[in-house]
């Protein structure tokens, strides 16, 4: 396999003899999903040499369905980023234009699919990490409802938001892969018994009420991207959907609430990386604070360290009420907004990203600017609901993603609507 996109961090293949829906299909797996006997690094130097002794639940299911694990894909270190440039092993390149980023953090998975190296891949989505690279690379990506796919074996970054999900070149393959990984697993206490039946997939959009949140076409959204998505929404109307404008006023708090919460969770989750049980060896003769600091300062990249800082700060005595607690209130308002509009509407539609894939290096200087491009994806992770990004034409000659957002555990309706759109687009 010739990987000119730096999509893979490891290309060790594990074939499966099992007969099943995925028999003979090669599937790439994001490098934060544990694979027995294959190095798993989260694109971080702090996991150098780590070989998991077990498979993630989703990987067990792929093998049982006959899939060949095609290797592990590049990503932003620990999932922290929107371009895959925060990888310790260099950025992945966008197959549609190799001078541009893939989006992140599941950029390697998106590049592997868009570059036709594999037909399907697993990604993970904490604040848009499946949908963003799907949008930038012109493929399909689904962020499942929170709890529908087991997180067992997914290396935690912000566990109250993240889900493993499918990425593929088309809606049918996305649905097929989703049908294998969805369902209950007792080893994840947030897992819900909601399997997905692939046989039920059919194009269906007629009569569906689609809400179009005005905030999804607000300030910061590129005009040409908005025009492309508006055209896609017109297409949905032509196919028989009924659209109406809706409003999500609490979205103004979404980015701050998301970044406060995810960094707090990260500061705690990433505490375990000190080199003692895995990773680079600490100096045994140093006092433990010094030994761990040395390993962590050298092992974590700048963005990971920034988020550990932010989270540690926000949880410090005296600041907890100002940041973490307020963020929880904001999250509640956002959840209520989505619940309200999704009572009258079957689903919502808008752009996945406010822009097209930036040039390599364009976004790295200013972390806040990079966080702001997540504005249309993070509200979904806060609400816990499912969302899919489907290619809907181009702007500035680059792919644009249409984002369809559904009711809790409403992946069936989303995939059926996405299929109807794809067949006509």
């Amino acid at each position: 396999m010739q990987d000119t996109y730096n999509a893979f961090l490891s290309t060790i293949e594990i074939p499966s003899e099992a007969k099943g829906l995925l028999a003979g299909i090669r599937i790439a797996v994001k490098d934060n999903i544990s694979t027995k006997d294959i190095p798993t690094t989260c694109a971080s130097k702090i996991l150098t040499g780590y070989i998991p002794p077990y498979d993630a639940h989703a990987v067990e299911l792929l093998k049982a369905a006959g899939a060949t694990i095609a290797g592990k894909t590049n990503m932003d270190e620990f999932g922290m980023g929107t371009t895959t440039e925060n990888s310790a092993f260099g950025p992945a390149l966008n197959p549609r234009d190799t001078t541009r980023v893939t989006g992140g953090s599941s950029g390697g998975s998106a590049a592997a699919v868009a570059g036709c190296l594999v037909p399907m891949a697993l990604g993970s989505d904490t604040g848009g990490s499946i949908r963003c690279p799907a949008s930038y690379c012109g493929i399909v990506g689904l962020k499942p409802s929170y709890g529908r796919v087991s997180r067992y074996g997914l290396i935690a970054y912000a566990n109250s938001f993240e889900q493993i999900g499918p990425m593929a070149a088309n809606v049918t393959d996305t649905a097929k892969l989703f049908s294998i990984i969805a369902g209950h697993d007792r080893r994840d206490s947030t897992s819900v018994a909601k399997p997905y039946d692939f046989a039920g997939l059919h194009a269906e959009i007629k009569g569906k009420v689609i809400g179009v949140p005005k905030e999804y076409f607000g300030e910061g959204v590129d005009k040409d991207v908005a025009a492309s998505v508006e055209k896609a929404i017109q297409k949905l109307e032509e196919l028989g959907a009924v659209t109406r404008e809706v409003s999500l006023p609490s979205m103004q708090y979404a980015l701050a609430a998301y970044y406060v919460t995810c960094t707090c969770e990260a500061s705690s989750n990433l505490d375990r990386f000190d080199g003692v049980r895995y990773g680079p060896e600490p100096e045994m003769n140093l006092p433990w604070h010094d030994a761990y600091t040395k390993v962590r300062a050298a092992g974590f990249g700048p963005e990971v360290r920034r988020r550990i800082f932010l989270g540690t700060f926000a949880l410090t005595a005296g600041y907890y009420g100002k940041y973490y607690l307020k963020a929880q209130h904001a999250k509640q308002l956002i959840r209520r907004d989505f619940l309200r509009v999704l009572t009258d509407c079957d689903m919502l539609a808008g752009p996945t990203m406010p822009n097209v894939a930036p040039k390599l290096g364009e976004m790295t200087a200013n972390p806040l600017q990079m966080y702001q491009t997540d504005i249309l994806t993070v509200p979904i992770n806060i609400a816990g609901i499912p969302a899919i990004s489907v290619p809907c034409g181009t702007a500035h000659g680059l792919p644009v993603g249409l984002q369809l957002m559904g009711r809790m555990f409403g992946e069936e309706a989303l995939l059926n609507a996405a299929l109807a759109f794809e067949e006509e687009a």
Binding site: S189, H289, A297, F300, R306
Partner: protein, 89 residues
Amino acid sequence: MVSENDVLHIAELADIGIATAELGKFTEQFNAILEYFDILDTLEANDALERPLVNVFREDETRPSLSQEEVLRNSHNPEDGYIRAPKVI
């Protein structure tokens, strides 16, 4: 506003370290992000937080787990079945 000294203190709490050369830029970026978070101050937080979730418990029963050998495989120089760590005192 967070000062360079505050940043050094947080770095110590998080066992993360920070080089003198990167301290100024880091503090500046950190403050820009915190300033953005100030939007949360405009939020009325009068409602009680809903807790719609329930805990999921299971019976405390023995189930198969990884072998000791597998658990220790990624650690450095394990001794008598234990993992070695830097000295605490």
